[in-house]
């Protein structure tokens, strides 16, 4: 106890006025450290994890401005400024990649953002608990299927000759369609398989918001003779609006982060005209052609755009709807 007080006065005397805004800060730190030293030890491994696998890569990303080679390492390699960025922007492939990336993500947003809301609103109208539970259980299930399995199923069901869909088309007297080998169909394949997989999962948040609606609102609406549709528009929609806005911010903020793993699996030389996105290109240039600096520059460009989008949407939402992530 005696030492604690001594230390406290000492800290106050030596450090307090200019640097530390709150005089109690370092005392609190010392007290917390002494009291929770075991927790500080405990937190070291996870912090190391974040430093090693999240922050060191951020620092490593300087190779975007260098001519990285394995022998000289990240810091030994020569600085080249924005050479690789210029190379990327001047490359004709740049516009193709940007167009494909934005098209896929905007299309995806337009489909997979409203559909879960509609599903939740419809489910909320259902009175039979069994039917409601079954629909929820079934629509939620595909979320647990891996992307590899999803793409495998797509491959088998939509195979040009043997797939059940093509057989059905032929049975109806229509020509079979090569779904997987077409640049025109690829975006729809990507988006609607995503809707199939993610809608039930995404609806959970909205269902929870709807569960929290005050029942007296519905009572009042009924007394006023409101129809079901009017109740949805005047009670249900406003009550899921906050959740919907947050999810919209998150979705727009990750526009550039298309579901790379799925695009990569669905991609083949035939549909490449619309399936080559920034991240698949990074993978090819970087790991397959070992052009590390160029690939890192492209990746950095992608991350930066993403961050800017997120901050912009967040600010807009804050100003207009008073909702924001941070």
């Amino acid at each position: 106890m005696g030492t604690a007080i001594a230390e406290r006065t000492e800290v106050l005397r030596t450090e307090a006025p200019p640097q530390v805004p709150e005089p109690g800060l370092w005392t609190n730190a010392a007290k917390s450290l002494r009291r929770h030293w075991q927790l500080y030890l405990l937190i070291i491994p996870p912090l190391l994890y974040f430093i090693l696998f999240k922050y060191v890569p951020m620092v490593n990303a300087v190779i975007a401005f260098k001519d990285y080679n394995v022998v000289q390492g990240v810091w030994g390699s020569k600085w080249v400024g924005t050479k690789y960025f210029e190379q990327f922007f001047q490359n004709p492939v740049f516009w193709t990649l940007l167009r494909n990336t934005l098209f896929l993500s905007v299309y995806s947003l337009l489909a997979s953002y409203p559909i879960p809301i509609i599903l939740a609103l419809l489910l909320n109208e259902v009175r039979g608990a069994v039917f409601k539970k079954s629909v929820q259980l079934v629509t939620y299930a595909p979320y647990f299927i891996s992307i590899v399995v999803l793409v495998s199923i797509i491959n088998l069901l939509l195979a040009p000759r043997t797939g059940i869909v093509s057989q059905a088309l032929v049975g109806l007297g229509l020509p079979p369609i090569d779904f997987l080998g077409s640049g025109d169909i690829f975006p729809s394949l990507y988006v609607w398989s995503g809707v199939w997989q993610g809608t039930g999962y995404a609806a959970v948040i909205y269902l929870a918001a709807l569960a929290g609606v005050d029942p007296s609102l519905y009572e009042a609406a009924r007394v006023d003779g409101a129809s079901r549709l009017q109740k949805i528009i005047n009670i249900d929609l406003p009550s899921i609006l906050p959740a919907a806005l947050i999810i919209l911010i998150l979705s727009v903020g990750s526009l550039m982060a298309v579901g790379f793993e799925k695009v990569f699996l669905l991609q083949n030389p035939l549909n490449q005209s619309s399936s080559e996105v920034i991240q698949t290109y990074v993978y090819k240039v970087g790991l397959l052609n070992a052009n590390f600096s160029f690939a890192t520059a492209i990746g950095l460009f992608n991350s930066a755009i993403n961050l800017i989008l997120l901050l912009a949407v967040n600010t807009i939402a804050k100003r207009t709807a008073n909702t924001s992530l941070f």
Binding site: Y40, I145, S146, V148, S152, L156, E261
Partner: protein, 303 residues
């Protein structure tokens, strides 16, 4: 999953318009149900049908000439068996490692008296907003000598920030600071308190984290694609990708009879393999779904 029937189960006379509206709702939802269910049933039925029925497209909804041949062949394939064992290992070991690390950071950050908690929280939240990218991360894994080892699957993605948020929120809500202060007055150390009081009280969140991490590991393929070259280390998802999506057969290590068998069974094998690869998760699913929903909702309390 909280089902909200209370507000609507009072018998009320529906107006004509409302009745039409309800019919439309039920019809739409039934269509949705069928659209989601059909591909799953089709794959399952195909996997249980005879090779001939599958390759000649006789399967429409239910299995034709029911047989387990597809599964038999799949389980005789050394690649698939190795992949299965590897995936089990990655899921169990990965979930345990991830759980330990997540609790090790989420619990301290949930204590009000833990100095620096906000700064550290910010430190990890930033990683959600910005990342160094694919190549720089690859270089770290390479420099650590993890390439082509099991560690590359278990460690680089070990902590998900989202799960830290979920766990921290849970601890904040269910372990009051007063309880911890009282324990301290009784002379209990932080670690002892964590071990003998907090963890026993946190079984639901431990279940959520374990399941989320295990399912994540089971379903992931991309890290394996990036970091692994040795086929003996491949998880099942990579085997599945090679056999079904890339349609390649590595014939080197396979005996000729098996190869011939595969030729005629190729399609059937694909269906069986898909079922095998999703079975563990889908069997658990009805039981764990509740936990996942809870987890998602806890996380969104403070998103």
């Amino acid at each position: 999953m909280a089902v909200i029937t209370a507000k609507t189960n009072t018998r009320i006379r529906e107006s004509g318009g409302d009745r039409i509206f309800l019919i439309a709702v039920y019809t739409l939802l039934t269509l949705v149900l069928l659209a989601v269910l059909y591909p799953l049933i089709y794959v399952l039925s195909s996997s249980l049908s005879s090779p001939l029925a599958v390759s000649s497209g006789l399967v429409k909804l239910w299995p034709v000439d029911v047989t387990l041949r597809g599964y038999q062949v799949a389980l005789e394939n050394p690649q698939i068996v190795t992949g299965y064992v590897n995936s089990l290992f990655y899921s169990v070991a990965g979930a345990l490692i991830s759980l330990t690390l997540t609790i090790a950071i989420a619990y301290p950050l949930s204590r009000k008296s833990f100095f620096g908690r906000n700064v550290i929280m910010l430190f990890i939240l930033i990683t959600m907003l910005f990342s160094g990218g694919l190549i720089p991360t690859y270089l770290v894994v390479k420099d650590l000598g993890m390439l082509n080892t099991r560690w590359a699957i278990l460690i680089p993605q070990a902590i998900a920030v989202w799960q830290v948020i979920i766990a921290r929120t849970f601890f904040q809500l269910s372990i009051p600071d007063e309880l911890e202060e009282a324990a301290q007055l009784d002379g209990s150390s932080d670690l002892r308190f964590l071990w003998s009081v907090v963890l026993p009280l946190s079984k639901p969140i431990i279940a959520v984290l374990l399941l989320m991490y295990a399912v994540g590991q089971w379903n992931s393929y991309f890290d394996a694609l990036l970091y692994l070259r040795n086929p003996d280390l491949f998880p099942l998802q990579i085997v599945l990708r090679n056999l079904v999506i890339l349609n390649t057969v590595s014939s080197g290590s396979m005996d000729p009879t098996l190869l011939a068998q595969r030729q005629e069974m190729a399609d059937l094998l694909k269906y069986s393999l898909i079922v095998i690869a999703s079975l563990p998760v889908l069997i658990l699913y009805p039981f764990v779904q509740r936990f996942f929903v809870q987890g998602t909702l806890i996380g969104s309390v403070k998103g």
